[in-house]
């Protein structure tokens, strides 16, 4: 809120140093946003937080300054109270519980003029236009007290005045010439035929004060803030009145504002005030009582605050002490402080007026709690390290799929799953959540290819989102994508997968041909312990695999250190021939089961002949030629029996 300092200084003496003033206000919860000058007067703009309805006023800020600097507030003069006009209650019909209080008073023989300079200057410094003396005065009192008010033209409001919920589809044209189509949730002032205003937010064009106005009906009210809030958001009515009424305003303010307005009308001789006021106030709001226990204040703040100091702070904040003993005290909260409802709120009051600078910085000295990091988080951190170690760059992509990649947003290997969509997308590119990590990684890869990159090695660890029937679920996935300009082949990509699984200490990984899965050709399923944990395949000349992290979690083996064997291996190459379409991985797995074979590598492939390099080794002794021969014979026997393989002559 913009606070012209010379206006503020009418209610409280300000410290000479403006920096000291704004620093203290900032520390106490009202951050200085910026300061500027209007016609030579300094205006500070404070960032107010929504809980402090009382601070959206010059007087509210004056009270804060008063509490911070211990300087009393000079409250402005008000008109003596008028008698309540019970008899004319019929003039305003209120049946909804959404109205907490309404005060109205008639003022006759209104003299509409330009505003005097003192009034104009204040409004202009705040940022409002000057219209005429009466409209300006309603704004002035609103800014001064925080209570919005409105002046109707008494001769135009007609009969059957009431405050009610609008009927859906009813229309009102605002004084800014904008037509609103109202809903049955909007609270309105209406007469028999027309809507006069949207309560608490904006008035209509035809029933308010104008240059010709002779008599006015002044109203100030308090409503259910949640209702007002909905209306101002729905119709985009963030007016000065609206932003105040959507907060928790004290209904007692209504009275302050009305009598302040009347005082100024009388003082300036702008009209004849009716002898009675209308006051609808069905449920009197009484000040709240809160107990403050000193021990609790010390425990929550973490340092000892002097009891006398606490009392002094609260006194300057207008809290009344209704009871006290050595343990604590009972406080009566000033009615305008609608934000203070709990003991913790009072504790904050003490701390913020003292300044948070007084709070010591204490390094957590309590017992160190147990580590409860779930294993899946450690898994993700470890995998990120493994994958970067084998040369993959980490991508973090949006959880949404861009419109032109949506065609790839299909579940990999998932049955009956569909993508999750946002009901209120801010843009077509933030509409559908990813159901795989492929679509975004494909986009990134194609970007690199277009930028004339020579190689792509991306991984992403993140969630995919899916819907099955009406259940939503999230799965943690690892996506790996590979492309190279030269030497681009599946063997290379497979090597990276092997490298990753080796780093992750996961063995017994099997690959089973799938044929085709969605957009991927040459696709395969990745299995661990016979359970599927991922899917891979080829998109053009781009290789992709997606692994389910929960499927892999817990499958890693304990890391065991291995030492060089004391006895040397015998190494030999054997070239074998197999019927076409024999899976080489299966052969190697089968051979690896044979005793005294410590390692096998595929050294060379030519048509149907494959040369395997075989390490024969016994950890306990050097194998004799005879023993090696026995192992070799075993290999040939197994190969022949299981795969129909023969030695190439």
């Amino acid at each position: 809120m913009r606070i012209p300092l010379n206006w503020l200084s009418e209610y409280v003496k300000l410290p000479k140093d403006r920096g000291e003033l704004t620093d203290k206000l900032t520390m106490a919860g009202h951050m200085l946003d910026k300061a500027d000058e209007v016609n030579g007067n300094i205006v500070i703009d404070l960032e107010l937080r929504g809980n402090r309805a009382d601070c959206y006023s010059i007087l509210g800020i004056a009270r804060e300054v008063s509490a911070l600097f211990r300087i009393p507030v000079k409250y402005p003069a008000v008109h003596p109270k008028l008698k309540e006009n019970k008899g004319s209650n019929t003039t305003l019909k209120i049946e909804t519980p959404l109205v907490r209080r309404v005060m109205m008073v008639e003022i006759n023989d209104i003299r509409i003029t330009d505003s005097p300079d003192w009034l104009k200057e204040k409004l202009i410094a705040y940022g409002l236009e000057s219209i005429n003396n009466i409209v300006d005065l309603t704004n002035f009192v609103m800014l001064e007290t925080g209570e919005p008010m409105h002046a109707f033209d008494l001769d135009k409001i007609g009969t059957g005045l009431e405050i009610r919920l609008a009927r859906g589809g009813e229309k009102m044209t605002t004084f800014l010439n904008k037509t609103l189509v109202l809903t049955s949730e909007d609270l309105v002032w209406a007469n028999k035929t027309d809507i006069l205003s949207v309560a608490g937010a904006i008035c209509g064009k035809n029933h308010s004060v104008s240059g010709e106005t002779k008599n006015i009906l002044l109203e100030a009210a308090s409503y259910d803030r949640a209702n007002i809030r909905k209306s101002i958001h729905n119709h985009n009515l963030f007016t000065d009145a609206g932003i105040r009424h959507e907060k928790d305003l004290d209904p007692n303010l209504v009275e302050n504002a009305v009598y302040r307005f009347l005082y100024l009308v009388e003082k300036n001789n702008w009209g004849k005030i009716n002898s009675s006021v209308y006051d609808y106030y069905p449920k009197l709001v009484k000040p709240l009582k809160i107990s403050l226990i000193f021990e609790r204040l010390i425990a929550l703040s973490g340092f000892s605050v002097d009891k006398e100091e606490i009392k002094e702070i609260l006194k300057w904040l207008n809290f009344e002490i209704s009871k006290k003993d050595s343990q604590g005290m009972e406080l009566i909260v000033p009615a305008y402080r609608t934000d203070v409802v709990l003991e913790e709120d009072v504790i904050e009051e003490v701390l913020r007026i003292q300044s948070y600078d007084k709070i010591p910085e204490q390094i957590l000295s309590l017992e160190i709690p147990k580590l409860v990091t779930p294993s899946y988080i450690n898994q993700e951190l470890a995998y990120k390290a493994h994958l970067s170690a084998i040369g993959f760059d980490e991508a973090i992509s949006s959880a949404f799929i861009k419109e032109n990649y949506l065609k790839y947003n299909k579940p990999l290997g998932g049955v009956g799953m569909e993508p999750v969509r946002v009901e209120n997308p801010p843009s077509p590119d933030a509409h559908e959540l990813r159901i795989n990590l492929f679509a975004n990684l494909l986009e990134y890869t194609q970007k690199v290819i277009n930028e004339r990159g020579v190689e792509v090695l991306f991984f992403e660890i993140g969630k995919t989102y899916s819907k099955k029937e009406s259940k939503y679920s999230e799965s943690r996935k690892l996506g790996l994508i590979y492309w190279a300009k030269d030497e681009n082949n599946f063997k290379k990509f497979k090597g990276f997968l092997d490298g990753f699984f080796a780093k992750a200490n996961i063995s017994q990984v099997r690959y089973v041909n799938l044929g085709r899965d969605l957009d991927l050709i040459n696709s395969y399923q990745i299995l661990i312990d016979k359970l599927p944990v991922g899917i891979g395949g080829q998109f053009g000349n781009i290789y992709y695999a997606e692994i389910d992290l929960d499927g892999v979690l817990g499958k890693e083996q304990k890391q065991v250190a291995r030492l060089w064997p004391k006895y040397p291996p015998q190494i030999e190459d054997i070239t074998l021939q197999f019927p076409s379409r024999t899976m080489i991985g299966d052969i190697i797995n089968e051979m690896a089961k044979i005793k005294f074979i410590s390692d096998i590598k595929l050294a060379e492939t030519y048509k149907d002949s494959h040369t395997f390099r075989i390490w024969y080794q016994d950890p306990d002794k050097t194998l004799t030629d005879k023993e090696v021969e026995a192992v070799r014979n075993k290999i040939l026997e197994v190969i022949k029996r299981k795969f129909g393989g023969t030695v190439k002559d």
Binding site: T26, M27, G29, D33, R49, G50, N51, R225, R229, K230, H233, A299, L300, G302, F303, D339, L342, E344, I347, L351, R352, Y356, I359, P360, E361, Q362, I363, L364, L366, E367, P369, V372, T373, P374, I377, N378, L381, K384, L387, S388, A389, I390, G391, D393, E394, I396, S398, A399, V420, R421, V422, N424, P425, P426, S427, D429, A430, Y444, L457, Y472
Partner: protein, 331 residues
């Protein structure tokens, strides 16, 4: 003659052993063994000798020649071994591909490390959330003024949404973990934003929660100062002030001096000289009650901050969109 030969050999010996590079050795070789070299000129003189002397001189010359050749070779190898050979260290290497982590991960990992020192565990939670965990139990009941009406992305209005902050993990932790506990969360959050250089519908938040008998504002302040000084550096100025958030009471805000203008005021800090870094406070008693804890018996603190701006500042990225759209080059 014999003396000449021996002198020549000795001279060559001393020159060779003193040579400091191969170019010098080559010069020496030419001087002694070249076509116009000293050895050749001595050989030419043999014809002037007596027949009886010729044979002996030839033998000595051959010996001298072999000795010099050997010396040259030995010295050449010696020079190679001591590395005095001319060598170009500026030649481009053949770099193995080393993978890089995403800037956001780097920042998260760094923050995790700091909080681990203070006994914090790491935590996560669902991104597709319910209104209950995202708002209701967080002291943000329907119609609460701090609940922004339009900025939530709904999967199924009004109950299922994309979490709008990591505080939803706080609610879950308060319900599921047994105190005492300390956790930090880093994760994706979503809001209704029209995308531009500084706003994105998806963004990252970093959140911390601690629940333990005896925790106070002083513990919160100490924890945050430890973190800020470790992460941003000892020299940064910190402003720790009162600030309202519905999830905490008392509530606080932590600002850092603007490094772009040395607090003189610039467009980054909007002329304030300070950058708002995080929101924090003691967990609101209503939240503790909602999650089954007695606020008179146990207390806790919570803090949260946006990560993307921190990542962007650290890595000099100007447009938030380039963080998560594949624009980053890894080299």
């Amino acid at each position: 003659m014999r003396e000449d030969i021996i002198n020549t050999k000795n001279q060559a010996f001393s020159e060779i052993t003193e040579a400091s590079d191969t170019a010098e050795l080559e010069n020496i070789r030419v001087t002694y063994l070249g076509r116009q070299g000293k050895i050749n000129s001595l050989t030419k003189e043999i014809k002037n000798l007596n027949a009886s002397e010729k044979g002996a001189a030839g033998k000595i010359i051959n010996e001298a020649k072999e000795t010099i050749e050997k010396l040259l070779a030995t010295q050449k190898n010696k020079l190679k071994q001591t590395g005095s050979e001319w060598f170009d260290p500026t030649i481009p290497g053949e770099k193995p591909k080393a993978g890089q982590l995403h800037p956001t991960t780097i920042v998260i990992n760094e923050m995790f490390e700091i909080f681990k020192h203070l006994g914090f565990s790491l935590m996560e939670g669902p991104e597709i959330e319910t209104d209950v965990y995202n708002f209701e139990k967080l002291n943000l009941p329907k119609d609460h003024p701090a609940r922004s009406l339009q900025d939530v992305l709904y999967i199924k209005e009004p109950d299922i949404l994309l979490r709008s902050h990591t505080s939803s993990v706080e609610t879950r932790a308060l319900g599921e973990l047994k105190p005492p506990f300390r956790i930090v969360v880093a994760g994706k959050c979503y809001r209704f934003e029209s995308v531009n250089a500084s706003n994105n519908a998806m963004f990252y938040q970093f959140q911390g929660v601690a629940l333990q008998k005896g925790l106070s504002m002083a513990d919160l302040k100490g924890t945050l100062y430890y973190f800020v000084k470790s992460f941003f550096g000892e020299k940064r100025k910190i402003r720790f002030r009162c600030k309202y958030y519905p999830e905490v009471e008392p509530g606080g805000g932590l600002d850092l001096d603007c490094p772009f203008c040395n607090q003189k005021g610039c467009s980054v800090c909007k002329g304030r000289g300070w950058l708002e870094m995080l929101g924090c406070g003691m967990i609101h008693p209503n939240i503790l009650k909602n999650m089954g804890h007695n606020p008179k018996e146990i207390s806790g603190f919570a803090f949260g901050m946006g990560l993307d701006r921190i990542v962007m500042d650290k890595f000099k990225i100007k447009d938030i969109r380039s963080l998560y759209n594949g624009d980053i080059i890894y080299k």
